[in-house]
Amino acid sequence: MDPKTYKFDTLSLHAGYMPSKNAGSRQVPIYQTTSYMFDDVDHAAALFNLERGGHIYSRISNPTVQVLEERVAALEGGTAALATASGMSAIFLTIMTLCNAGDHVVVSSQLYGGTVNLFRLTLPKFGIKATFVKPRDTEGFKKAIQENTKCIFGELVGNPGNELMNLPEISNIAHKAGIPVIIDSTYQTPYLFKPLEHGADFVVHSLTKWMAGHGSSMAGILVEGGKFDFLKTDKFPTMTEPYEGYHGLSFAEEFGPVAFTMKARAEGMRDMGPCLSPQNAWNVLQGIETLSVRMEKHCSNALKMVEYLSNHESVAWVSHASLKDNPDYELAKKLLPKGTGSMIAFGIKGGKEAGAAFIDNVKLASHLANVGDTRTLVIHPASATHSQMDEATLKLANMSHDMIRLSVGIEDIEDIINDFEDGFRAAKKPRLVSNK
């Protein structure tokens, strides 16, 4: 006897939406509206006071965005989700909901450059400080926890160096200290990895990347796991104590496994307002419908590229956890059995100058500041996505100046390889190329 609940591929297409509640429309409608009619004064008051569910204003919630939220919650195995205008706003909203001035967070040192700067420069302006720990240094995460630490934050596979965090062990450390773990799972998508099944308490995504795939729309999301019990610790008074903003509501007491999302929406979207547009939510939904088939192709192409790069005379090193000599190989086999993802970092012989020549001479691969597009993308992080980081932070992130970040697309693999051959040929003659 097994439950007849829908499986991943079915949920990718159907979760969060019922045509019968939407005039029979098979496709999710785009509710392009700012606001929603109340039945009467009593109904309006009840909605504003969280006495009943429903929509008030599209900054707080929107029916099209709601479909996306439920779909991602279903795919991640979460109790609730809250979509945002971008992945960065999802991270900011999560930290601002969890922390107060005077709090501290422990953060992996290998993160998207924007996230590093958020923790390094922006959050300290609000009195929230961070300690950075190298992703493989599990014991380092433990040592970095202080009395006022409120969470551990990281990316399972760090950007751009591809080093893995041992999430199950790091989660145990966090939970023993009474704090939650937040994982940015943009690189994996729930197709490859569900952080909530491996100890994480909250997941954030930039949906702009693999989840959408098409590279047309910005979007982010926060997903709650529902297992972190704020009432079992006195570390989070904003979750457990009466909140003046809703007539003395204790979010943890009233909403239990969805308390964090409820607070992030009721307080964060109300006061900060990084809402997702219904059009972009719809665009992302179109991408999620084909998530499984795209991820399969991304991963199979990535494995072929790893093999090609590893054997190429112009390549100094390749970082991808599928390689047997990679320090994360065994952990990746355990945590990422469906594939280690389509992000590859490699070093080009000839350093920064050769790297620049390579990037300027590939034609199929797009040189841009994004990852997870269906198209193959390349960038030189030290001069672009991570360029605002100082030398010390670059070193902590294990980033070298010869590093090229490759996001493998789903084009024909032969075409990608042929394109790279052109790039490598040019990289051997950087001076000649630059004279062109």
């Binding site: 439950p3 979760a15 969060g16 009943r52 109790t79 609730a80 979509a83 909403f255």
Partner: protein, 269 residues
């Protein structure tokens, strides 16, 4: 709020307002393995509209001290003890699923304490599937998955939670898993399976009753709910379309409207 019943600590949500003995009391009683969280879309409304609310965690559930009580009869008596413990004379009782059986027992054993009763997804008997019962008693989380599958109607399986962003089945499952599959859900399922006094208890109830049923309920189907209603003298039936067993969440708005009308009439402020 936390208070003592029979010298054991009990947790109850008061719906976001302080408990006030001067206001009429409504006690909300959750279903098997669940907790007060399931009632949030009913309790806050009543709390902010003149009632004192206790959405209780049964012993051994949520934040209430254990162990779980092993029979529906004991649980019915325990609700009467809750009323005494908060120094009130009477209450309206609202139950969901197993909570309905508890309501039947309490209202039949202590008619002087029960002003009106609301039954959501109720039946006079809730026999358990032997395999499901066995899984729950062994603490196997598969029992939770099966329960969530059977308990939810189309909205639960596809989506469309009344509160934007919430996921029906994952939320429901997390309430049970965060508690105890073996010591709460397993004990509850056994108590339901053992309970044979539902219809006799129903016949003794004289206070106003409302039965709110979901037409897609696979755990306590409409037929079973109607049969129970026929055994309660002063009973109404409301059927919600396209709704499974988790009426209080799947159709939170509709069930609240029905309950509002019923309680305002039979237990006015």
């Amino acid at each position: 709020m936390k208070f003592k019943v029979n010298n054991k600590e009990v947790f109850a949500s008061t719906g976001g307002r302080p408990f006030d003995k001067k206001k009429p009391l409504i006690i909300f009683i959750h279903g098997s393995g669940l907790s007060h969280i399931t009632w949030v879309l009913q309790t806050r409304y009543f709390a902010f509209h003149g009632y004192s609310i206790l959405a209780i965690d049964l012993p051994g559930h949520g934040y209430s001290e254990g162990p779980a009580l092993e029979s529906i009869e004991e649980q019915g008596k325990w609700i009467s003890d809750v009323i005494d413990s908060v120094e009130m004379k009477e209450a309206s009782l609202v139950g969901h699923s197993q909570g309905c059986l508890i309501v039947l027992e309490c209202a039949s054993q202590f008619p002087e304490k029960v002003k009106s009763i609301g039954l959501m997804g109720g039946a006079g008997a809730i026999p358990m599937n032997p395999e499901l019962l066995d899984l729950a008693e062994k603490g196997d989380s598969k029992a939770v998955d099966l329960m969530m599958d059977w308990a939810h109607g189309p909205a639960g399986h596809f989506g469309g939670h009344p509160v934007p962003g919430l996921h029906h089945m994952n939320l429901g499952g997390s309430i049970v898993v965060n508690g105890s599959v073996k010591n709460a859900l397993g004990v509850d399922f056994r108590a339901c399976d053992n309970y044979k006094n539902g219809f006799e208890a129903a016949k003794k109830i004289k206070c106003p009753a409302i039965n709110i049923l979901g037409d897609r309920d696979r755990m306590c189907p409409v037929k079973a709910g109607k049969k129970l209603a026929e055994n309660i003298e002063n009973s109404e039936v409301e059927i919600i379309e396209n709704c499974g067993h988790m009426i209080l969440l799947e159709e939170a708005g509709k069930s609240l409207e029905i309950l509002k009308k019923f309680i305002r009439k039979n237990h006015p402020v």
